[in-house]
């Protein structure tokens, strides 16, 4: 017997199925009769990326490398895609649209028409039209093809992004291949900031931010077809593009005037430790790093070049003695006619200085005076302050290729080494560390960590990098006393060339003879001139360090380092609104 109840229940099931059919019909009316695919209204960004990835990377989903910007949002490094276009002559020859295709090709690309025609006639399968074609040109090309009727019938006069992939597949079928090449790294600002930004070569090795933050910039690729890759993050440097421009202009001029091996400069914000500019000359354009003949111009000498600082290092001797209250402002120091014998080592001044005030010792950069002050401190204290100022730290900034600090501990010193050390010999540092030690005084005694990155951005999440105080090196009072003396150096002493009317500048020059490693001795005619200064002296905004390596012009740092400083300072006064 057939049960009526069961029949009713069966009908319920069928009723459900029928209702599904009705829903499908509604959807079909929606899609087919009213033409609404509900696709256009959705934010298609992610989808577009998937399509592009599919199109370009044979379904290996590669991330997009992050950009590098300056602190004022100027683009320093970015990634662009170029296209390779080639045609299949055997397909073109037999195509109905042969003439239209050739017309569009010849109108859009500068190519040898006769050659291409011959190749098509020969039915070559691989005829190159262009290897590194820009995005815009490809779009024009595709538009022209459509305008000339080379298109599948379903494509209207304009194509949207989602139809592009189909159109390109269609083109492949008729013998036109537009393939995205590997990404190309582009540096829109060229030489500006090139030593900081750096580059990567094809093997993935390189220098600068590009190498140091390679993993962060690169992102992570995904092997799963339905996962998006993790795109690389963007890096915002602390470099200010305008200041960088002033600095590069000034060191280039200095290089031309004094013809040294190299000029380097660093500009710091003493209050935050931000590196506002870092530049070297000779420099290079990272877009064409492979064309550089002299590989030494690729090196960021401001951090990679180790040298004996000479007189600029007297800052540590002076500050240490002040902090330990061994000397006072009004003190008189006998400079013994400019010669002193210290534990068998003879130290000379450039002038025959007699009795000088403390201020004059630094104005005239008397070595004898400095040695006498250091003698009061003793080697333990001198080393202690050297360490406090950060001269023993090997990594001061997040950039590769930084030279290691060379400072020997005092128990290994020869008896006479205290004298040499106090005037900046027997230790090696780089320009950044030297400049940062002046920033300590400028920042009323606090040592800040130097930063090259102001913020990083990934997936719209921004992490700002905040200033970090490492330690207090000097008392506020001591810092002010040191500044007084450094102001006098500019006002009355060796750095007189950078004097300004309404602006107090503090700074110290240094001319260090270079130790020639080949000949194992100091050569009189090879020297490195440095000048580090900050302004406005009592509320500093900028600390600038200049290093001129082995100039051909004879003279002291006051002659070739100070003018470069002045050049930069003049521009900064206008730009930075310094009174």
């Amino acid at each position: 017997m057939r049960s009526k109840q069961k029949f009713k229940y069966g009908l319920i099931i069928y009723g459900l199925i029928i209702s599904f059919y009705l829903i499908i019909i509604f959807r079909l009316i929606h899609i087919q009769v009213f033409g609404d695919t509900e696709i256009s209204k959705v934010d298609g960004k992610i989808y577009k990326q998937v399509i592009e990835n599919e199109l370009n990377t044979n379904r290996i989903f590669k991330p997009i490398r992050g950009n590098i910007y300056t602190r004022n949002n100027k683009l320093l490094a970015t990634t662009v895609y170029r296209y390779k276009i080639f045609i299949d002559g055997s397909k073109i020859k037999n195509s109905d649209d042969k003439h239209e295709i050739m017309n569009v090709l010849f109108n859009n690309f500068k190519i040898d028409q006769q050659k291409i025609r011959n190749k098509i006639k020969r039915e070559d399968k691989y005829i190159i039209i262009g290897r590194r074609v820009r995005d815009k040109k490809i779009k024009d090309f595709l538009k022209n093809l459509i305008a000339n009727g080379v298109k599948p019938s379903f494509i209207k006069n304009e194509i949207d992004e989602s139809e592009l992939i189909i159109f390109q597949k269609y083109l492949k079928k008729i013998g036109i291949h537009c393939n995205k090449n590997d990404p190309v790294r582009v540096y829109p600002m060229g030489k500006l900031g090139s030593h900081v930004v750096g580059y990567l070569n094809y093997a993935g090795q390189g220098i600068g931010i590009e190498a140091e933050f390679d993993e962060f910039l690169e992102g992570e690729k995904s092997s799963d077809l339905n996962d998006l890759p993790l795109d690389g993050g963007d890096i915002y440097l602390t470099i200010d593009s305008n200041i960088q421009y002033f600095v590069e202009k000034a060191i280039k001029k200095g290089y031309k005037n004094y013809q040294p091996n190299a000029v380097s400069a660093v500009v710091l914000n003493p209050k935050t430790g931000d590196i506002l500019s870092m530049a070297n000359y000779p420099t290079y354009d990272p877009n064409y790093f492979y064309r550089v003949k002299d590989s030494s111009s690729l090196i960021n000498k401001a951090i990679a070049h180790s040298f004996e600082p000479g007189s600029t290092f007297k800052l540590v001797t002076l500050s240490g003695a002040f902090e330990e209250k061994l000397i006072s402002k009004n003190m008189q120091i006998d400079c013994n006619n400019g010669v002193i014998k210290y534990e068998g080592e003879t130290i000379r001044d450039t002038l025959n200085n007699k009795i000088l005030s403390l201020s004059e010792v630094f104005e005239k950069s008397s070595n004898v005076g400095a040695v006498k002050i250091a003698d009061m401190m003793g080697k333990e204290d001198l080393y202690y302050y050297t360490k406090l100022f950060g001269f023993t730290e090997n990594k001061t900034v997040a950039l590769s290729n930084e030279s290691k600090a060379y400072v020997r501990s005092p128990d290994k010193w020869a008896p006479s080494e205290l004298a040499n050390f106090s005037i900046g010999y027997g230790l090696a540092t780089n320009l950044l560390r030297l400049t940062n030690s002046y920033a300590v005084v400028a920042n009323s005694g606090k040592l800040m960590e130097t930063h090259i990155i102001s913020k990083i951005k990934r997936n719209n999440k921004v992490s700002e990098i905040s200033p970090l105080e490492i330690r207090r090196v000097l008392d506020k009072e001591t810092a002010k006393k040191v500044t007084d003396i450094l102001v006098n150096v500019v006002d009355n002493g060796s750095a007189y060339r950078t004097r300004m009317k309404n602006l107090k500048i503090a700074g110290k020059t240094g001319t260090a003879i270079v130790f020639n490693r080949k000949e194992q001795k100091y050569k009189k005619d090879e020297y490195i001139g440095t000048f580090v200064g900050y302004f406005p002296a009592y509320n500093p905004k900028y600390v600038i360090g200049i290093m001129v390596n082995k100039p051909k012009t004879k003279g002291y740092a006051s002659k070739f380092a100070v003018p470069i400083f002045k050049e930069i300072a003049d521009d900064l006064v206008v730009y930075g609104g310094v009174e």
Partner: protein, 360 residues
Amino acid sequence: MKKSRAIFIDFSIFIFFFIMISILAVWTTNYNYILKHILGLILAIFLYYLFSKINFQYLLKFTFPLHIVSVILLSMVLIPGMGITVNGAKRWLDLGIINFQPSELAKLTLILYLTSVFYSSIKRKNSRRNIYNSRKAFFVSFITAFLILIIQRDFSTAAFIFSFYLVVYFIANENAVKLLWGGASMVILVIFFILNSNSYRFQRIKSWIDYLAGNTEPVLQLKYSLLSLSLGGKFGVGYGGGEYKEYLPASHTDFIFSVMGEELGFVFLLFIMSLYVLLMYKIIRIIKKSSYDYELYFLFLGGYLITAQAAINMGVTVGLFPITGLTLPFISYGRTSFLIFMALMGLMRSVEKEIVRRSF
């Protein structure tokens, strides 16, 4: 005996239209397969004739061993050299001449098995025997679905096959609590699926849910399917003129509906759908005249298999379901599927003949 009359429209009329549509559809989507397909169709017609001669009541006695055979076939894809791996899933058996998909056969044998179990458990009034039988039916359905899930990694077919049990349970109307039991086991199946599936499979469902919620664009296949449907409009771009079929994966099986929609338009799709609805109506008409519960179970389940699978396949092309591997009955390329559906139709015809003969 004279040739028995058909109720409503003759099955052969349906077969004629389905075969015409199927040839049209496979020809335009995949020209290379058309000869194979037509050979399969001829074999299928023969099979329909053969099955319509079978004494259905007699067949019911062998449903359990039949189903066991198809379950064994199902497991045989694991034997090295027998199974063919396509897209990472083992679904085909290499039988020399023809590659055979055992899960399609399992659909038919499970329907027969469920019919006999539920019929016999009602017929005998012994209640202990009842319970034993319906539990056995549950376990057999569950294990079949489970095997398809494990071996073939095919969730859609597994869930669909298990739904047969739920449907026949609902129709048999034994006990609401037991139905809940069935629902719970479905949930277990789903949980197992989630634990067992790799991220790709899970992602496919997730992206579909995202699409329904309006958060993201549909996945590529669905997007092409929607674009091709919208291009077709009311009357289509013309037979053979479809542009998207080359970019649509599995256009000759899973997405044959959208290709038809593009080339022949909304009106033709309505025609296809109306065929299924008419078939459903015919089945209801036959059931109305039937006198035994086993006829009712079998016809309802058979109709459910055809029309619900069609609904799922069509639903996928318009974005109502996540993308599955279920074919469009009687139309998609896929000879195992076609043969099985024709065999099912043949059995329905045999039942119909029996009912018609009885009513005279």
